[in-house]
Amino acid sequence: MMNNTNQLKRADFIFKNENDWKEILAKNIKRSQQVLINELISSELKGRGGAGFPTGLKWKLSAEAESEIKYVICNADEGEPGTFKDREILSLVPFKVLTAMAICGHVVGAKEGFIYLRGEYFFLKSSLNQAISEFEEYCKTIHLDFSVKIFMGSGAYICGEETALFESMEGKRGEPRNKPPYPAISGYMNKPTVINNVETLAHAYTIFTYGAKRFYDLGVQYSRGTKLFSVSGDTPKPGIYELELGMSLTDFVNDFGDGDTKAVQVGGASGFLVPRKRFAETNIGYQGKLTGISLPTGGSMMLFNSSRSMYNVLDNYLEFFREESCGQCTPCRVGCQQLWIGIKAVKSGEKNALYLEKLLRLSETMQWTSKCGLGQSVANSFSSIVENFREEMIY
């Protein structure tokens, strides 16, 4: 799996053995909250779910919030099309995630943790529960009051949005909440809650094992450390790869492409499509030219070769969004429907090509006005596909 090339800096932290988790846990819960937070902040770890919020700051805000009861939640509702890394982490190194959750509980003052597990990952539940009981057993021996429960999702994409996830856990309909207040202040059950992606927690484990510097030294400025990438599409070697952040898309395609790569979708359906002519100027990381704004996903890399119709790709994404919008807010619910039937109308000639301009303006309105990341990011794939492959939309 791990072929070395000159261009791509491979890494192997996440899936490296987790046998030392007891030691790591015991050692770290003896450290002070402030020291742990500072370590995380100085590592510059950012949320690996895609939004890229600084993890240390998240923990800090929650630690400062005043409440008897707080929660730690691991977001394992991995629903972004083309992403499958969290499944692998939970299958192979679950103790890293549990350990990081417990350290987080120690830092913020939470005694309860939850793993919100994607409905389709039901098959992971029993092995995870086994790991949890072994983990809780150990916590007792070191007098750490921390428990973890699994909460099963039911298949709605929107429930990966953190506040919709809380609603879902509270037994309500999975609809995003208004922000502020943010989860660090008022999350699950309106209590201060740290909610982190599976991979973020796994990286936190790495940082608490090797120290912040080791992590910080990897990657590039603003995008420190490594990241798991779920590589799929027209590639001879689909799979999950841990790479340093900051690589250029040219290097990535040279390694993973099939020699005929026309475009790469970075960040799943809610991310951006990058055409071949922009590969060289595009870097993968939080401050890259295209990925400079926060993308609500992390690590999905879909490669398309010249046999693929970009119209079909967009049609597929929009059908997905039309169905997976929670339907609560106007721009997302109606906007997704309009974009979907809109490109069909242009394709069929029912609307002329200028209608694409109106749809682009609509996608921009959706970005400015939608309540949550779902509606806000439809414009990413829509505008990047329509602007770069206009003729494929029309003819």
Binding site: E323, C329, P331, C336, L362, W368
Partner: protein, 595 residues
């Protein structure tokens, strides 16, 4: 008090911390349009019409759901805001069956008004209505639900859950399929809907409307073989004016009577009369229950006794607390007492064939339509009340008839069942039935007026959701000696969410009352689901003031002094809780499922 400094459209404002941008703007006279926002309801922030621009932020923020922060620079009418808002309105219209001229809410629709304010003359978007399989639920006798007019603002859902605690309406499905529906998508008449109509007065569009009987009533009026009798509920006279150009809280009783006569009703009488009659029956029932409890130590007697005037409350308790039906007063509501007496007492007195009488009631209520339709409401041998119109439907008829309402001379109700007292009038406000009952029961027991200044029992009035009051009975008349020293404990609730709180407290045994008044709607009947739209706490407060002013202006203010009530007992009913009363004025209830 934490004050912060912000600017709205470059105008500096000092404001209390945590005020929403919407409230802050309204305080300085800047109006931000809204759709999903309603003063009665929790914040949703889902329509996105109230978006504003904040300096330094790319994305727009919903004014209703965003608290002001120190130093915020807010723009409510920037190019970006205006264009986005127009886009949102266009999107809503593309999903909405915008067949405005054929819509029942034409002229009183918030979406229509927005489209007009922003001059949405054309739309870029493809109409989505033909792609949807919209249905209209017309099975309920009270409420019609037309999904094609729904804009998913969820005001009805928040009303049904937050104000009423009923949860008959909820959200189902997601994405393009997302809709507002009931349990298992059953029709509204098959679920635990109480027909209170609060969803109707909170709906911004024509998605939820009352089932109207305007044409049926016109037909009856114009049929020369029919004698059409109309009764008007107490809360109608303080709200009808709002539909016809008067300020909120204007009393227009005399003009309303004149208008009804000019519409062609053969007899215009007053539900207040049977409100007074209800007090006689219900007051006597309460005293007899107290006697059974205190003197006979009857273990089967059910206390507290609960009022039974509000049909929304009746259906609610039938669904949610079926074990407590025995606690309800067996008295029919004033509307149904009136209906049965029209086709018996009135028919005899006027020498009319009951089958030639059409009995119409004007109610602030949509649940009254369901009540009139109940199988047990045929004690006269006929359907006791034939048609129930809401305040809004009456206003429509007055407009259709071309009556210049403002110019009408005040008129008086017809006799026999048209006399009322202030006690009957205050039935329209929360706490009113309690106050009227106490005025009569206290005097009946002690021979004296209630010990409150000018008969105004202020502790039972007000707009708090749950209120308690008690009256100590001292030196009663001889036959009521067993009540000496008894502190009569009462509770008053309005809005079914508060009824739930009270019932749960009673169920758990933590509170003990003798008498409870429950009104399904916020504010009582004056905030009923059949009243003019819009509603708000402020509007309900003004209507309540009007009701109490009407009471104070009446020469008679105690039910037992109503001369027509005295006459009906002398000529027809003989005595409260007598044989005829049992037959005609009392009823029983049906246990229903929770869904």
């Amino acid at each position: 008090m934490n004050k912060i400094k912000i600017t709205i459209n470059n105008h500096p404002v000092e404001i209390k911390k945590d005020t929403s941008i919407l409230d802050a703007a309204r305080q300085i006279g800047v109006n931000i349009p809204t759709l999903c926002y309603h003063k009665d309801l929790c914040i949703a922030g889902n329509c996105r019409v109230c978006l504003v621009e904040l300096a330094g932020q790319k994305r727009l923020s919903p004014a209703c759901a965003t608290p002001c922060e120190d130093g915020m620079e807010i723009f409510t009418n920037s190019v970006k805001v205006r264009n986005s808002r127009k886009h949102i309105i266009e999107l809503l219209l593309s999903e909405h069956n915008a067949d405005c001229t054929r819509c029942y809410k034409n002229g009183n629709c918030e979406l229509q008004k927005l489209a007009s304010d922003y001059k949405i003359m054309t739309s870029d978007f493809i109409p989505l209505v033909p792609f949807k399989h919209y249905t209209i639920d017309m099975f309920s006798p009270s409420i019609i639900k037309d999904d094609s007019k729904c804009i998913r603002c969820q005001r009805c859902v928040r009303t049904c859950a937050g104000l009423q605690g009923v949860n008959a309406l909820t959200v189902a499905y997601k994405g393009d399929q997302m809709k507002i529906t009931s349990f298992f998508e059953k029709s509204m008449n098959e679920v635990n809907c109480t027909n209170c109509g609060q969803c109707v007065i909170h709906c911004p569009t024509g998605a939820l409307t009352e089932r109207n009987y305007i044409e049926e009533v016109w037909e009856a009026i114009t049929d020369p073989t029919k004698h059409v009798v109309v009764q008007t509920a107490p809360a109608v006279r303080v709200a009808l004016g709002e539909e016809l150009g008067f300020a909120v809280g204007t009393r227009i009783t005399g003009k309303m009577v004149a208008a009804l006569r000019s519409l062609g009703f053969d007899s215009v009488m007053d539900t207040d009369f049977t409100a007074d009659l209800t007090i006689m029956e219900e007051g006597t029932e309460l005293l007899s229950r107290l006697k059974r409890a205190l003197v006979d130590h009857d273990p089967d007697v059910k206390l507290p006794m609960a009022t039974s005037c509000s049909p929304g409350w009746i259906k609610y308790i039938e669904h949610m607390y079926p074990d407590y039906l025995g606690y309800l007063s067996t008295c029919k509501s004033p509307q149904q007492m009136f209906g049965v007496l029209v086709k018996t007492y009135y028919a005899q007195a006027r020498n009319l064939q009951p089958d030639k009488i059409v009995s119409v009631s004007i109610m602030p209520c949509t649940a009254k339509k369901f009540e009139a339709n109940r199988p047990e409401m045929h004690a006269s041998g006929y359907r006791d009340v034939d048609y129930v119109l809401t305040t809004r439907e009456l206003a429509i008829m007055i407009k259709q008839a071309g009556i210049d309402f403002m110019k009408l001379e005040d008129a008086k109700f017809d006799r026999l069942m048209g006399e009322s007292t202030g006690a009957g009038v205050i039935f329209g406000a929360t706490g009113g039935v309690m106050e009227a009952a106490l005025r009569t029961a206290y005097e009946l027991v002690t021979g004296r007026d209630v010990p409150f200044d000018n008969l105004n029992i202020l502790p039972v009035r007000g707009m708090e959701g749950v209120r308690e009051a008690s009256i100590l009975i001292e030196n009663p008349l001889k036959e009521w000696a067993f009540l000496n020293g008894v502190e009569l404990k009462c509770a008053i609730v309005h809005g079914l969410i508060n009824a739930k709180k009270l019932m749960d407290a009673i169920q758990s045994g933590e509170t003990q009352y003798h008498f409870i008044e429950v009104m399904a709607c916020p504010g009582g009947c004056l905030g009923g689901g059949g009243q003019p739209i819009p509603t708000s706490p402020e509007i309900r407060r003004k209507r309540a003031e009007a009701i109490y002013a009407e009471d104070e202006g009446m020469p008679l203010r105690k039910s037992h002094l109503n001369p027509e009530v005295i006459k009906i007992y002398a000529d027809f009913l003989i005595k409260p809780l007598g044989e005829k009363s049992h037959l005609l004025l009392h009823t029983n209830y049906t246990a229903r499922k929770r869904y």
